[in-house]
């Protein structure tokens, strides 16, 4: 499967989805003008990936800001990866947050409450510019 690599912009995140390694990473700022247009290709890619996934899948979030329209898509992405977990694959979410950003930590905890998939909430020193 072709890798997805999207460079970050002032309003859209960096995205790297690599089927060979099972590493799916979304980082930076997520405030897309049209969230449906931005995230639909990612959902489509994931649908193909989950049909033939890597043995290990890590969905990594390292976000600075996001709007609630993005939140809805993040949950959709997390639930697609959850299907792998339900199939017995090694799959989980790594939710990174800046130590000073309680809101981002709470956002990760919210997702954790809504899925059965393992979600690890990891404080780090610095995210973003």
């Amino acid at each position: 499967m072709e890798k997805i690599v999207l460079l970050p912009t002032p309003t859209t995140p960096k995205v790297v989805f690599d089927a060979e390694t099972g590493l799916l990473e979304i980082s930076g700022k997520s405030l897309p003008e049209n969230s449906i247009d931005f995230f639909q290709p990612l959902h489509t890619w994931l649908d193909s990936y989950t049909a033939d996934p890597n043995e290990v899948t890590n969905l990594v979030f390292k976000l600075e800001y996001f709007n609630t329209s993005s939140t809805s898509h993040f949950l959709k992405i997390i639930k697609k990866v959850e299907k792998l977990f339900d199939m017995g694959k090694n799959a989980g979410v790594l939710w990174y947050y800046d130590h000073e950003d309680e809101d981002m930590k709470e956002a990760g905890e919210d997702f954790k409450m809504l899925v059965k998939l393992p979600v690890e909430i990891i404080g780090t020193d610095f995210i973003g510019s």
Binding site: P10, L31, E33, Y65, T68, S69, D101, D103, D110
Partner: protein, 196 residues
């Protein structure tokens, strides 16, 4: 903007306005405005958590203006495009007041009044529960909104959302929302302490 009511303009002048923008709210504007707002906020040196609360309120406010501006029918004012709005924030005592204004129809007004009234009556726990339930339902409007914006603004603020609708024509209003993020300083700096 000739249709912005006088009392709103006066309110903005009264507050210690730190940041204000009047014009089209679109994707390009949101990115630039957020950078500028963040820079202005940083210079105020608020508590980190409250700075983030203000920025999140701004993000949601601008997102709502963008999404709902797209849904507003042709403006009765030929000079006023449908995605025209106003966003800003000012300092009042130990709080940042975030202001957004945009056009709304009668139908949108009715929904907003009901929705905001309901949100203002909820406790912190109830708001969190509502947020999780709405998120889990997962629907998106045709414009791409998830129905979470006002909930998030209410949660980030911790205070009731203040609304004002000013009629422009029979079916069009200027919808102004004021969101208060208080306790932005652990100790109020001398520069903003009222003189006795």
């Amino acid at each position: 903007m000739s249709t912005i009511p006088l009392q709103i303009s006066e309110k903005l002048r009264e507050s210690n306005l730190v940041f204000a923008y009047r014009g089209r709210i679109n994707g390009d504007a949101i990115g630039s405005l957020l950078q500028l707002a963040e820079s202005r906020l940083k210079s105020m040196e608020p508590i980190q958590k409250r700075k983030k609360n203000v920025l999140n309120v701004l993000i949601e406010g601008m997102q709502n203006m963008y999404y709902h501006g797209k849904g507003t029918p042709n403006s009765p004012n030929p000079v006023l495009p449908i995605d025209y709005g106003m966003v800003g924030f000012g300092l009042e005592d130990n709080a940042v007041m975030v202001y957004t204004c945009n056009l709304a129809t009668q139908e949108q007004k009715a929904k907003l009044e009901t929705n905001i009234s309901r949100l203002n009556a909820l406790s912190k726990t109830e708001l969190h529960q509502l947020y999780l339930e709405t998120l889990d339902k997962g629907g998106l409007s045709p414009e791409g909104g998830a129905g979470l914006g006002l909930i998030r603004m209410r949660r980030e603020s911790g205070n009731p959302l203040l609304v004002n609708f000013v009629p422009v024509s029979d079916n069009i209003f200027v919808f102004c929302l004021t969101v208060t993020v208080d306790q932005i300083y652990s100790q109020v700096p001398a520069a903003i302490t009222p003189q006795s």
